[in-house]
C-alpha cells in the first residue's frame, strides 16, 4: 500500500482558499487517490476521489500532477464548519476487498 505524507496541521481564516498537499511517492498504477473529512465524534466522510489531472465536485477540487506522486485538495472559501481532520488515502481499485489505509491526517483549523 502506498504510504502518504501530509502536514499535521494547518490554520486558515474564513473565506480563504485552503490547499492541502499529500505526498504519495510510491503510488501504484492501479491506485486511486481519495480524501476523507472527519469532524470530532463522527466517522470520516468521503469528500472526493481522483486518478489523474483534476476532479471537481460541489465541495472541493482535487489536483493530481502527471507523475501522480502528490495530490492537492483545494477547499474554496472555507468557513468555520470546515474545521476538521482531512485524510489523504490511496488504494488499489482492483482489490475487491480493499480497506482504507488512513494516515495521521491534517488538522485544519479555520478561524473567524
Amino acid at each position: 500500500l502506498a504510504k502518504t505524507t501530509q502536514p499535521i496541521s494547518m490554520d486558515s481564516y474564513e473565506g480563504q482558499e485552503v490547499n492541502i498537499t499529500c505526498s504519495h511517492n510510491n503510488i501504484a498504477t492501479n491506485d486511486y487517490i481519495t480524501w476523507y473529512q472527519q469532524f470530532p465524534s463522527q466517522g470520516p466522510r468521503f469528500i472526493i476521489q481522483g486518478y489523474k489531472t483534476k476532479v471537481t465536485n460541489e465541495v472541493a477540487s482535487l489536483f493530481i500532477p502527471a507523475d501522480r506522486k502528490s495530490s492537492t485538495l483545494s477547499l474554496p472559501r472555507v468557513s468555520l464548519s470546515d474545521t476538521a481532520v482531512y485524510y489523504c488515502l490511496v488504494g488499489d481499485f482492483y482489490n475487491a476487498g480493499n480497506m482504507l489505509t488512513f494516515g495521521g491526517g491534517t488538522r485544519l483549523m479555520v478561524k473567524p
Binding site: 466517522g43 470520516p44 468521503f46 475487491a96 480497506m99 482504507l100
Partner: protein, 115 residues
C-alpha cells in the same frame, strides 16, 4: 435518509469483561468494514465482510477480537477479556459494492473505555 448506525455510542468496561459492539449498515450494502481509531490517530482497519463472508481479518490485533455478520446485514464486533489498550473508538463503514472506488459510509462510532 438512514445511514450507518452503531450501538452503543459509548461503552465503559472493566478490564477483563467481554463487550459486543453492533453495526447496522445501510440496507443493501454488500461491503462492511470495521476500523479502530485511537485518540488523535487515523482509523486503522480491523476486518472486512463481503455479505456474510469475512474476507479479511488481517487487522484484528489479537484472538480476543472476533467479528461476525451472519446474515450479511448487521455485524457485531466482540472483544473478549478487554484490556486497557483496547480503549478506542470503533468505527463501522459500509459500501454498496466492492473495491476502493466504492464510497465508504461511516457510522458515528462506539467509544470504548476500558478501566
Amino acid at each position: 435518509g438512514a445511514g450507518v448506525s452503531q450501538s452503543p455510542r459509548y461503552k465503559v468496561a472493566k478490564r477483563g469483561q467481554d463487550v459486543a459492539l453492533r453495526c447496522d449498515p445501510i440496507s443493501g450494502h454488500v461491503s462492511l468494514f470495521w476500523y479502530q481509531q485511537a485518540l488523535g490517530q487515523g482509523p486503522e482497519f480491523l476486518t472486512y465482510f463481503q455479505n456474510e463472508a469475512q474476507l479479511d481479518k488481517s487487522g484484528l490485533p489479537s484472538d480476543r477480537f472476533f467479528a461476525e455478520r451472519p446474515e450479511g446485514s448487521v455485524s457485531t464486533l466482540k472483544i473478549q477479556r478487554t484490556q486497557q489498550e483496547d480503549s478506542a473508538v470503533y468505527l463501522c463503514a459500509s459500501s454498496l459494492g466492492t473495491g476502493v472506488r466504492n464510497e465508504q459510509f461511516f457510522g458515528p462510532g462506539t467509544r470504548l473505555t476500558v478501566l
